[in-house]
């Protein structure tokens, strides 16, 4: 399972849109997250996750190199695997089945990103 309760959980953002990453970082930092890294595609994201060992990985489905679901599978193989939260600007409907069968713990529409809601979704209460 994921990491135990922490006061300021760490998170890695993997998304190819710079604008989104910047806004998401500010939003998450404001809502009590520690954004310890950003990656623009699947491969660098996997490398970053391995070296940074974040509590949570915010993972875009539509990455330029590897499909988000594939990245999720590979992230989930490690012994100390992070929680994976898939994000997309597409309708959640689009990925319903694939999200269900993936190791991700949640799916979020990008525009609904909210650090506080994410913490409560993952059972990470703020101290």
């Amino acid at each position: 399972m994921g990491p135990g309760p922490v006061t300021r959980p760490t998170i890695l953002v993997i998304d190819d849109h710079g604008g989104f990453r910047a806004t998401a970082r500010r939003l998450l930092e404001h809502d009590g997250w520690s954004v310890i890294g950003e990656a623009v595609d699947g491969e660098t994201g996997l490398a970053a996750a391995a070296s940074l060992a974040p509590d949570v990985v915010l993972l875009d489905i539509g990455l330029p190199d590897v499909d988000g679901f594939v990245v999720a599978e590979r992230l989930a193989t490690g012994a100390d695997a992070p929680w994976i939260v898939l994000i997309s600007s597409r309708d959640p409907e689009t990925y319903r089945e694939r999200v269900r069968t993936s190791p991700a713990v949640a799916f979020l529409s990008k525009h609904e990103l909210d650090g506080t809601a994410l913490r409560s979704l993952l059972g990470l209460t703020a101290s």
């Binding site: 604008g19 806004t23 689009t94 319903r96 089945e97 990103l113």
Partner: protein, 589 residues
């Protein structure tokens, strides 16, 4: 003259011959004792010639052999009137009765086409007619006293005739000599024709060979009798010989008739050929059909292989077809620059140009049919392929637009929305309520815009189709429907994009129609694969009666399905719901 008018005329001639023949034969008994066998043979010769002529005239209205043979038969009967006891009748008959043999010669020369085209044949025909015409004039002049000897009704005696003929004897010998020469020439022509023919062509020439032999034989015998035997030693020709010669002439008439009937059979075989060549058969079969139809076992067919720039024969070996000449007659189907087929046949068949050209026309028709069919097939293939490409291009374009919307406007709106959220946080809990309300209104607008773009993108091309496949896409259609839609998805693999997209759009359109018009309480959507085809059934429990797809969005859908080579079937009986069945070919990926 119409066929029925011709039949009436020919029938009248036939009836006339039936009556005239016995009457003419009866004349033979007026001045001499005749055996019944001779009388029977006499009437048989005239009748058989006339009958053969009538049948030819009926079957070959344009062929002069018919009238010629009829005339020949009547000329035979006219000869009988030389024995008339009426002097003037006897005189007139004597003057014209000799026309039987020259007319018979014309029949032989004109067989089987009814035309005399070769120079030698024409010379012979003119010779026969000229000699006989000259002899007619000579006899008319020399024998004219007989016509009014004593009294016209007195019985003419052998003595008077003998006297008259003795006076004519030198000229008669010249006439016999000339006609004998001509008939030997005719015999040579006929024998040459027969020898140069082979197979079926030869058997077609057999009747005229017989006729030529009989004609020439008769003249030669007469010549020998008149010229070589001393006048004093002349005995009247024995009855038996007369009967035998008559029987031979009957046989010749029958043989001519068979020749014509065989010609009919040949025309029948050409008709069969036309039917058999409905589609151009493979070369060996075509060759066999032509050999059969033309009765020429030596016939060869060669096909031009355009790609290899060479001819091949029926066995597929590359060959050089023979040139047209004395050894082989060669016929090219197609043009000289662009030959398609070359047919080499027995040159003897040139004697029957109608038969060969009819067969060639049949082959030409088949070749042309084949070419047109191939052209239409190629055009259809091209149109089918381009139609499928248009659908695929349309799908690609829709997919691209959806992606552009997602990557462009959608992303910007998402960023805007998040910025507004950030702004709300930055304002803090003590912010101006009016500003907060304004901010939340802006945020709601951004959320609505995002929803609108999602809806638009889904209409253009549902991403779920690309991302999750047809089953999931149909599931999402069902979820958005205002009434229960049960999806049974039996697909175990992904299908080509255009197939999935078409099935999806058909299902979406069918659902829209069912929801709008059918009054259904439940809709079933089922997909499965069978025989490399995707099957999609959409059925509802509504009122049915949607007997046509016109006026609904299904018309466009039908085009789409057809473009992929699929089929649409709509079953909608009153009170029994509506069922739409779609089948789309999908080659394994």
């Amino acid at each position: 003259m119409s066929a029925s008018q011709r039949r009436i005329v020919l029938g009248a001639i036939g009836l006339a011959a039936l009556a005239f023949g016995p009457f003419a034969t009866y004349q033979l008994t007026r001045t001499a004792e005749r055996s019944p066998a001779l009388l029977l043979a006499d009437v048989a010769v005239g009748w058989s010639m006339i009958a053969a002529g009538l049948i030819v005239a009926d079957r070959r209205p344009g062929n002069r052999i018919g009238p010629l043979a009829i005339l020949t038969g009547f000329a035979w009967f006219v000869g009988d009137f030389t024995s008339s006891d009426i002097a003037v009748v006897s005189y007139l008959a004597t003057v014209v009765h000799g026309w039987f043999d020259p007319l018979f010669a014309l029949v032989i020369l004109a067989y089987p086409s009814g035309r005399i085209t070769r120079r030698l044949d024409r010379a012979l025909a003119i010779g026969f007619v000229a000699v006989q015409a000259g002899w007619t004039v000579v006899q008319a002049y020399a024998l004219r006293p007989i016509a009014w000897w004593d009294c016209p009704t007195c019985i003419s005696t052998v003595d008077r005739w003998t006297a008259a003929y003795t006076a004519l004897d030198p000229l008669g010998r010249i006439e016999t000599f000339l006609l004998t020469g001509l008939s030997i020439g005719l015999l040579a022509v006929v024998v040459a024709r027969w020898v140069s023919a082979s197979g079926a062509a030869r058997s077609r020439q057999t009747p005229v060979l017989l006729a030529g032999l009989v004609l020439a034989g008769g003249f030669i015998a007469t010549f020998v009798w008149q010229t070589l035997l001393p006048t004093s030693g002349r005995e009247p020709v024995g009855e038996l010989r007369v009967i035998l010669l008559a029987l031979l002439r009957v046989l010749v008439a029958i043989a001519l008739l068979i020749g014509v009937l065989r010609d009919d059979a040949a025309k029948g075989r050409i008709a069969d050929l036309v039917v058999r060549l409905d589609g151009l058969p493979p070369l060996p079969l075509l060759q066999a059909s032509l050999r059969d139809a033309l009765g020429d076992p030596s016939l060869e067919v060669y096909r031009w292989e355009g790609a290899m720039a060479r001819f091949t024969d029926a066995t597929g070996r590359p060959v050089t077809p023979p040139a047209d000449g004395a050894a082989r007659a060669v016929l090219t189907i197609g043009t000289a620059d662009a030959p398609e087929l070359v047919i080499a046949h027995d040159p003897a068949l040139r004697d029957d140009p109608g038969l060969v050209s009819a067969a060639a026309a049949a082959v030409r028709l088949a070749v042309e049919n084949e070419r047109l069919q191939a052209e239409v097939r190629a055009q259809l293939d091209a149109v089918t392929a381009s139609r499928a490409r248009i659908v695929e291009a349309q799908d690609d374009e829709r997919r691209r637009i959806e992606r552009d919307l997602h990557d462009g406007a959608q992303q910007r709106l998402v960023s805007l929305q998040l910025s507004l959220q950030m702004l709300r946080r930055d304002l803090g809990p003590d912010a101006d309520p009016a500003a907060v309300a304004e901010l939340e209104a802006a945020s709601a607008e951004a959320a609505a815009a995002i929803a609108d773009i999602r809806e638009l993108a889904r209409g253009v091309h549902p991403a779920i189709l690309t991302e999750s496949g047809l089953g999931a896409a149909l599931g999402s259609l069902a979820d958005r429907a205002p009434l229960p839609v049960v999806v049974t998805d039996e697909l175990d693999r992904r299908l080509p994009g255009s197939v999935e997209a078409t099935a999806y759009f058909v299902a979406a359109e069918a659902l829209t129609n069912a929801i709008k018009h059918s009054g259904a309480s439940r809709i079933d959507l089922r997909t499965w694969l069978a025989d490399d085809q995707l099957h999609l059934d959409v059925s509802d429990d509504g009122r049915g009666g949607a007997d046509t797809m016109n006026g609904t969005g299904l018309t466009g859908i039908q085009d789409r399905v057809a473009a992929l080579g699929g089929t649409v079937r709509l079953e909608s009986r009153d009170g029994q719901g509506t069922r739409l069945e779609v089948a789309l070919p999908c080659a394994s990926p």
